[in-house]
């Protein structure tokens, strides 16, 4: 058996794995030396001789495999411990968010029960009033407010969804130009109805950002929808996308009513809205998404002239 193991060690030394991970290196083994004649998992610290002071830690697993005829084989797995730690932290974060999301979802679920009985009783009540009765109007207001409350609950849940995606996302390259072009098709009809024109200004370069597609779409929908709401017949919407240093910039300019200076200060505050049926969460969520992706959002506006929203994202590299 000792001979077999010696043979195996030689075999491993000749194998690609050995050359890839251990050639030109000196390694210290924390436990159970020598590694390659002992089964089990080991933590190996490798010091590269050609790179001063660089130390790498790997978890190494070795299993000896024997088939029915007694031929020996071996299975070696090598994993970077730093990456393992990162993965563990990421998993713990994701788990925490999933738990919180679950709690939030069950709260919302339970809140909808009393909302539903109130809604139903209000509808019954409304039926008992004649058309010109003021009380019929009041029950309508109460019903609308109740629906608004329910929308707030839905928005609250969707905020959890965003965070869930942030933690669970795989870094991907998304073409800003493609997303904007897709969205313009989506908004084309409502712009036509309002008599609004649009201009897209992109350079020739591919503009890539590393953000979840759903999140980028939500950010752009929130901003473009606000722009369209602010504009009227004959106004123009301009969307520019370009690279600046290591940033991707998107500028969305409308010729709408603009935002009052007082309101501009409160624009990212949750539940602040100037729209009659707004939840006041659109721009708040937008800012949250931008911040959590290492980006930024700034708004410049002049009352009566229009608004420009500046979005900045870290540029994604093709191989990211």
């Amino acid at each position: 058996m000792a001979n077999d193991r010696q043979e195996m060690k030689t075999e491993i030394e000749k194998s690609n794995h050995y050359n890839k991970y251990f050639t030109k290196t000196s390694y210290t083994i924390k436990q159970d030396p020598p590694l390659f004649v002992k089964e089990g998992s080991h933590r190996v610290i490798i010091k590269y001789q050609d790179e001063a002071d660089k130390t790498f830690e790997y978890d190494v697993g070795l299993s000896v495999i024997e088939d029915t005829e007694g031929h020996l084989g071996y299975l070696v797995s090598v994993e970077d411990t730093k990456k393992l730690e990162e993965k563990k932290i990421k998993n713990a974060e994701l788990e925490r968010w999933l738990t919180e999301k679950q709690i939030a979802a069950s709260y919302v679920h339970e809140l909808r029960n009393p909302l539903f009985s109130i809604r139903g009783f209000l509808q019954i009540l409304k039926q008992s009033f004649v058309d010109d009765d003021k009380r019929k109007e009041y029950t309508d207001i109460a019903l609308n407010e109740l629906d608004r409350m329910n929308n707030l609950l839905s928005d609250y849940l969707s905020r959890y969804k965003e965070h869930n995606i942030i933690n669970g996302r795989v870094n991907r390259c998304i073409s800003v130009k493609n997303i904007i072009e897709e969205l313009i098709v989506f908004f084309q009809h409502s712009m036509q109805l309002k008599g609004i024109s649009y201009t897209l200004e992109f350079g020739n370069d591919e503009i890539l950002v590393s953000i979840d597609k759903e999140q980028l779409t939500q950010v752009l929908i929130n901003i473009i929808q606000n722009a369209i709401d602010a504009m009227s017949n004959g106004d123009n919407l301009t969307i520019k996308a370009f690279k600046e240093d290591n940033w991707v910039c998107v500028e969305i300019t409308d010729e709408g009513v603009g935002i009052k200076q007082d309101d501009l200060d409160k624009i990212f505050v949750p539940f602040f809205s100037t729209k009659e049926k707004g939840t006041g969460l659109g721009l708040y969520i937008t800012k949250q998404i931008m911040d959590s992706n290492g980006g930024s959002i700034n708004i410049v506006s002049e009352e009566g002239k229009g608004t420009t929203v500046f979005l900045k994202f870290p540029e994604a590299k093709e191989n990211q």
Partner: protein, 137 residues
């Protein structure tokens, strides 16, 4: 023959009271239950044609309860109500023949109108007009 007996199963007593009020006034013979045992009891004695089921009852889930009710009456029609929407669950429910999936808080008259549509009950003279009458008094 009218198909006009409805069973409502929800663990929230006020929702049961409210739905019974709306559906009774829309011309349906309405029974309510707040759990599995009561639901099965009513299904046996009253032979409802339609069941309106909350999908998260304390002792049973909507799809399971529907299976139990179908053992008693294979032709029973079902509508699910819930405080949240789970697309996968909705798909399973649709596969089981559930006709509609209402998310609370929804328009109760939409539910009543849907029941009228699937039940051939003419509720116009009994239902909404009744409340109008009260209002005029």
């Amino acid at each position: 023959m009218y198909k006009n007996t409805v069973l409502v199963v929800d663990d929230q007593p006020l929702i049961n009271v409210m739905l019974k009020e709306v559906l009774s006034n829309s011309g349906f013979n309405t029974f309510v239950a707040s759990n599995y045992i009561e639901a099965v009891e009513i299904a046996k004695t009253e032979q409802p044609d339609v069941a309106i089921l909350d999908i998260n009852l304390p002792d049973i889930d909507g799809i399971e309860l529907l299976s139990k009710l179908k053992e008693i009456n294979p032709d029973i029609k079902a509508i699910f109500i819930s405080g949240s929407f789970d697309p996968q669950y909705a798909q399973k429910a649709a596969d089981k023949g559930v006709l509609r999936y209402f998310i609370k808080p929804f328009d109760v008259f939409e539910l009543a109108n849907f029941l009228v549509k699937i039940s051939s009950v003419d509720s116009a003279s009994k239902g909404e007009n009744k409340w109008q009458m009260i209002g005029k008094k």
